[in-house]
Symmetry: C2
């Protein structure tokens, strides 16, 4: 939709991968709609995943015992966070929609993307205490997880060996995105592209393309335990 801003946080090492294709398609379709699309290509940026004292420029508030959360909260307020965090926070602040494009690593995001979440979504910027879930500071923004799996869809069903895929989405969609106030769109899951046929891969890409055409009309999913766990 013309005028909308989209941030794609992309975590794959190889541009020619299926993740790379999904990212490319999203950039193309959304740009054609007149959206401004920004990509944070984490591996290409050599993005730092480790949460350390280096994230605070200048003196610490409590140098005797280092608490990452306390120091980063203070540094956010004093504008003394390191520049790679500040750059990403600006991109998030400007975005109407944040798409996370990644391969599933151990039922979650790859460490480089976990580090983006750990460091960028800090207290003061993304939430406060109180000031989370529906009162999270990123309210009014949309987020969407677009991920690929190693295993086939049958593994990720309620009775499959890995359980319903919704189960592993809970820490990401509820515990992280919803906590920060995002409205979460349904996940886009491309199952097992590495073992799929060329035809199946084309179908998965086409399905993502088609979905992006009307993405701005979508209604967010309910980020509640019953939706995840069917209780």
């Amino acid at each position: 939709m013309a005028g909308k801003k989209v941030l794609i946080v992309y975590a794959h090492q190889e541009p020619q991968s299926f993740n790379g294709s999904l990212k490319k398609v999203a950039v193309e379709i959304l740009s054609k709609q007149g959206c401004t699309v920004t990509v944070s290509d984490l591996y290409a940026m050599g993005f730092e995943p480790r949460a350390t004292r280096n994230d605070i420029t200048g003196a610490l508030s409590h140098p005797e015992v280092f608490s990452y959360g306390v120091e980063v909260y203070e540094a956010y307020k004093k504008r003394s966070l390191t520049s790679d965090i500040v750059d990403e926070q600006k991109k998030v602040q400007e975005a109407d929609l944040v798409i996370f494009q990644f391969p599933l690593y151990w039922f979650s995001v790859p460490a480089i993307l976990k580090g983006w979440m750990d460091r960028v979504l800090c207290q003061g910027f993304a939430f406060d205490l109180p000031g989370f879930y529906d009162a999270g500071f990123l309210k009014g923004k949309l987020a969407l997880l677009s991920l690929t799996t190693g295993g086939p869809a049958e593994m990720y069903t309620r009775t499959g060996v890995s359980g319903d895929f919704k189960y592993f989405l809970w820490p990401l969609q509820h515990g992280t995105l919803h906590f920060c106030g995002f409205k979460v769109l349904a996940p886009q899951i491309s199952f097992a592209p590495e073992t799929a046929s060329e035809d199946e891969r084309k179908k998965m890409l086409a399905s993502w393309t088609q979905r992006l055409e009307s993405i701005w009309k979508e209604v967010p999913i309910p980020c509640t335990a019953p939706w995840y766990f069917g209780q």
Copy 2:
């Protein structure tokens, strides 16, 4: 228990933190029992969390399109993984029990520890396809998550804002540890030590100490969806 080997994978920046105290107590109690205790202090080691081409020494099998999973599997078989991964795999291979000591970051492990899981527990070493869950290659070993939270226990109940703490354990205990064949002991959760009183912190440390005294007699938890989700 005399003769047992324990690996503690520890992810906190500050030795004087509550996580540091929990780690210290575990080293003391288990050493007193006659166990050999090894600590991987990830921040102190500057452990690399990013899964990249650098993890494979020498030539790639498919240099034209880089697939991390494929290349690391090949490199494991050819003994050409980078030394920091090999060192950690040796520690895991020797351990009877692996304890993960960390503060909860976004309903999960900090990125530095996620990177340890992504890189160390690779195909060929920790599992194969097939060769996972009860057939995972680390079967016969025990694993235990000892974590601290920011929020109080009330937040992590079935009707609390963050849902039952079991929900966020699923990707770690089932999707990662059980997938690799580990038997998983009940998690040790120390709620909100940063806002607790000195007396409450002492009680949490004492509870961990007491538990460690009889840790070898514990029965693993059932790593199944009903245990997590009560279905």
